[in-house]
């Protein structure tokens, strides 16, 4: 787990985006962590099992392993607040924290469809039948990750946990309900995400205000 900022306070546990969006938002997330550290707020970023530094293969990972990993990380870091980003917002239900903040939540159905479409664009053999097989006969390579059928189905069917205490932040161009909007671009779409100091600063400010 990567941590930034002062160690004396409990800080914020960041639930990262899933699959390829994770890679594309690394810079944004580390910029947010630095900005919050500068505001004297600690942040912690766990690796989801099967991704990043984790030694387990993703094909052996079940949805509940990810939910459990987040619950464990919250307990380990003694985090007071959760900041879930994109698909990570589907994983924030297993824990209680003083504040739940979601940034640009994306439905699991959309996430998995983006990955399937992306592969179908470059792989002619990945036809309608192969696309259906993602959910019945895996694992399937999606965005560089071996995704098991169980995980693919779990992501597709995942719902956001209904909570009364959630603060939702979205980009102003984003669709869906939001409590706070920030100006910026969807960096998780970019082939070569360069980060955005302005977006990171706005997000850090919104988060710091919410938990302050």
């Amino acid at each position: 787990m990567m941590s930034f900022g002062p160690d004396r306070d409990a800080g914020i546990l960041i639930v990262p985006p899933l699959f390829e969006e994770l890679n594309r938002t690394r810079k944004l997330i580390s910029d947010i962590m630095r900005a919050l550290a500068a505001a004297d707020v600690a942040t912690h970023l766990p690796d989801l099992p099967g991704t990043g530094e984790s030694e387990i293969s993703l094909s052996d990972i079940a949805w509940d392993d990810w939910r459990q990993a987040i619950a464990d990380a919250v307990a380990h870091a003694d985090a007071a607040a959760i900041l879930a980003v994109r698909g990570g917002c589907l994983l924030d239900d297993a824990v209680d924290a003083k504040a739940h903040i979601r940034f640009s939540p994306v439905a699991g159905k959309r996430l998995i469809r983006d990955l399937i479409r992306a592969r179908s664009l470059t792989d002619a053999g990945f036809d309608a039948e192969a696309q259906k097989a993602v959910f019945v006969d895996g694992p399937t390579n999606l965005g560089g990750y071996p995704v098991s059928t169980a995980l693919a189905c779990a992501v597709r069917d995942a719902e956001f946990a209904e909570r009364n205490d959630v603060t939702t932040i979205r980009l102003d161009s984003d669709h869906g309900d939001a409590d706070i909007t920030v100006t910026g671009s969807p960096l998780w779409r970019r082939a070569e995400p360069s980060g955005s100091p302005e977006l990171a600063a706005s997000l850090a400010e919104a988060v710091a205000n919410r938990i302050g």
Binding site: R113, D114, L121, S173, S185, R189, E192
Partner: protein
């Protein structure tokens, strides 16, 4: 009125290209029907295209069925625009 709605679709499409891909507004403003997209623009890799489609769905409030999805529609700006108009204005 139909022309106005079609113009709105085109405007939305260009804005999505700027926002999603981080292209310059001036570059996207120069796109015409023959401008090649997927395979010709480095920012448009397969994940970005998938994201672009999702973004277009959101902004135009349309839903592209899996069996409607053809790679041809991403070959040129004209193809993509024609598809978006057909979906949004039907």
């Amino acid at each position: 009125m139909a022309t106005e709605a079609a113009g709105k679709v085109e405007e939305t499409l260009r804005a999505a290209l700027v926002d999603v891909l981080g292209l310059h507004e001036a570059q996207v403003a120069d796109f015409d029907a023959d401008t090649e997209l997927f395979g010709a623009i480095p920012e448009l890799d397969s994940m970005a295209v998938a994201g672009l489609l999702t973004e277009i769905e959101d902004r135009l409030d349309i839903w592209i069925e899996d069996d409607e999805f053809e790679t041809e529609m991403l070959e040129t700006f004209g193809n993509l625009l024609a598809f978006a108009k057909e979906k949004a204005l039907q």
